[in-house]
Every structure is written in structure tokens, then in C-alpha cells.
Symmetry: C2
Subunit: 209 residues, 2 copies
């Protein structure tokens, strides 16, 4: 179809015994700003669905638009036999998270540790919404105001099933100028609310690997 | 925060009297392929939330990464007095949809007509999931196989609240090659399933404005 795309990611989870699972997701999206909440949807029967339902925790790990990151992310989408660790298979390294049990992926620059707010089962799918309880990134992808340096982070977008394992870059930017009399009327695409930058302040400090 | 971005869109709805509302959304995302389902999340109290809950229908209209489209989309985010039509305010033209009551936006290249599958109220927000019951696009953005011509369609990505009205382009593509022995293991980022292209066939035929 005509591409309703979003950020691809590897979601890491653990089962009740602590075994790590990792799975490529085509679309993980922020759906609330304060506190930040994210959503993704996965097929029932997948290990990620079981683990998130059992533990209520997951970590969203964001690859950059680089052949290496995109390839390793795709490899975590493999249907491996039970007990096989997708991170090993993809050549990725688990790194302890700050708050939740599932690990972060050391090779990726951006991580969102999440606790489940709610999930909804429909058709053969599970839609999961989680609140971000900790976020971290490599210090080189964030400026001194806690904002992304897009050209360094090089965000990717997944094109969707009909296009195979195809991704676009998402860092050539443009900013719309509406004029101050119009800005006052904006709500759905409103600029940063006052104090927003501090919401994740405890967790967002740069971290050098 | 560190950008979990997605496709921006204008969602059109009608109230029970048929009055049209339009609202800019920062992230509308496909969360199922067959049949195609999409989701977005909006603040409670917004006209879109009322109208979707009342009528069960909405249309997702996708702007391209062009100053004109992005500007008009942002203008539909204005908090206008009740009864004021955001499409008029933004200089956009309503075009009848094929299946649902809310109109499509003539100036935009891609449209998804949707019926609500379910919605979920949480915090002060409403997460809406709809099934795509009709899709249409300008004939110039689709090739003869029904796939997007990315360089013509020029998809955009919204950077998120902390970055103001800033968008990235999303059409510089790369495709990951894993090798056939690995492709067989893929599930979460699987290429097009057989027959997929036909799912929307009745509605996806090119439409020239």
C-alpha cells in the first residue's frame, strides 16, 4: 500500500525466567508526549507478545539508517528455535537497562525503557502501549539541550511489507513557518510545551559507550 | 525526545449533522497488513475524537514533503471556533470519498478511508484503530504494480513536539539483502505475502485529479 510508515526498532523483552528475546518491529511510534508513551502492534503467539504480557516490560532500541544497523535489526526478525537468542544471531550485544529487566542493545544509539500501560488483543494481533520510564542515547547523537542531532542519529523509516526489507532515511528536515498569529491556534502539532524538556531529564543524560 | 517518528496526516471526519472537521495528526501508522489497519492517538475533547466516536469513520489524507502540503497540513491543526471549517482555513478542497462520509482532501496525493475497529480511552487521550475500507491515490504516485513511486510521492515524517513544526523527507531508500537462507526465517519484517497486492485492488486503482 501507499506507505504509512514509522520508525523501525528492535524490541527486547525477557520471559519469566529472564531469557532474553529480541524482535524487529516495523513501526514503533510515540503517541503521547507527557509522559512519553509509545505503541507497537505484534502478532499473537510471538515471543514478544508473551513476554510483554507476562512481565509488563520492554525496551525499544532504535537503529540508525546504516547498512550495519538495518541488517542486524532485520536479523532479529528471524524465527529462531525456542531458546536461541536473536541478539547473538544478529551479532548484537545486550547491555543492562537502567530501570527495567529487558536489556538495551549496545550497538544502537537510542533506547526507550518502557512499562506497559495497557494492551489490546484484536484479530490475531496485540497492540501494546507503554510508558517510557527511562531513555538513554549515545552522547554524540544529542545536543546540549537534549535534542537529537538528526544528521548524526540518522533516523530510519520502514517502508512496510509490500516493499520488503526497504527503509528510507529520515533526516533531511524542513520547518514550517506559519507566523505568530497562526502559531497561537495550533494544538495538534504544537511546539514544545514549557517544561517538556525536563520530563525525561533524569534518564536522558548522554551516555557514552 | 529522541524521535520515534511517523507519517503526518490530516484526518477528516464529520459530525452527526455532516459538518466536516479536519485535524493535523503527527503520527498515523499502519499496524496490520491484511486487511490493512491504521492507528492514531488524539486528545480527548478534540472534535476528531467526538466525531470518530459518534460516526465510526475517518479519512487519513497524506501530504507530501513539500512546503505547500506541510504548511496546509499544519494550518488544519488550528483551534478554530466551532463551525469554522479547517479545510477552508488551510486552503484545502474537500472531495467526496468512495465509501465513507468524511471527505478526502483533493490537494493531497494519498487517501485512506477507514472504519473504526476499536478505540481505547486512556489518560486524556483516545487511541483509535481503523480498518482501511478504501484507498486511493493520484495515478502519478503509483506504478503499474500498485506500489508507491517514492520519489514522486515524497513521503514526509513528523519530528515530534520538541522540534516544533519540523518534518523530514522519507524517500531516500535502502534495501537490506540477507541471503535466501536467512530470508526464510524472517517474520516480523517479512516481504509481501502472496496475494497481498490484491487486497486493496478494488479501491487502489489510480485516480487522476
Amino acid at each position: 500500500m501507499y506507505a504509512l510508515s514509522a520508525t523501525p526498532a528492535v524490541v527486547t523483552t525477557v520471559d519469566l525466567d529472564g531469557n532474553v528475546n529480541a524482535s524487529a518491529m516495523g513501526a514503533v511510534v510515540r503517541i503521547a508526549h507527557d509522559p512519553v508513551a509509545v505503541t507497537f502492534t505484534i502478532g499473537l503467539g510471538r515471543d514478544t507478545a508473551y513476554n510483554v504480557s507476562a512481565t509488563g516490560e520492554f525496551v525499544v532500541n532504535i537503529p540508525s539508517f546504516s547498512p550495519k544497523d538495518l541488517r542486524s535489526m532485520c536479523l532479529t526478525g528471524a524465527d529462531l528455535p525456542a531458546g536461541k537468542n536473536e541478539l547473538d544471531y544478529a551479532g548484537l550485544t545486550a547491555m543492562d537497562s537502567r530501570v527495567v529487566k529487558p536489556p538495551r542493545i549496545a550497538e544502537y544509539d537510542r533506547h526507550f525503557e518502557c512499562r506497559v500501560l495497557w494492551n489490546m488483543q484484536w484479530r490475531d494481533r496485540l497492540t501494546i502501549v507503554g510508558e517510557v520510564v527511562a531513555a538513554s542515547c549515545s552522547s554524540d547523537v544529542m545536543d546540549e539541550h537534549g535534542k537529537l542531532i538528526w544528521e548524526v542519529a540518522r533516523p530510519a523509516t520502514y517502508c512496510g511489507g509490500p516493499y520488503g526489507l526497504t527503509f528510507t532515511s529520515s533526516f533531511e528536515r524542513t520547518t514550517v513557518k506559519l507566523g505568530s498569529e497562526v502559531d497561537d491556534l495550533m494544538s495538534s502539532l504544537r511546539p514544545t510545551p514549557p517544561g517538556y524538556a525536563g520530563v525525561m531529564g533524569n534518564h536522558a543524560s548522554g551516555e557514552k559507550r
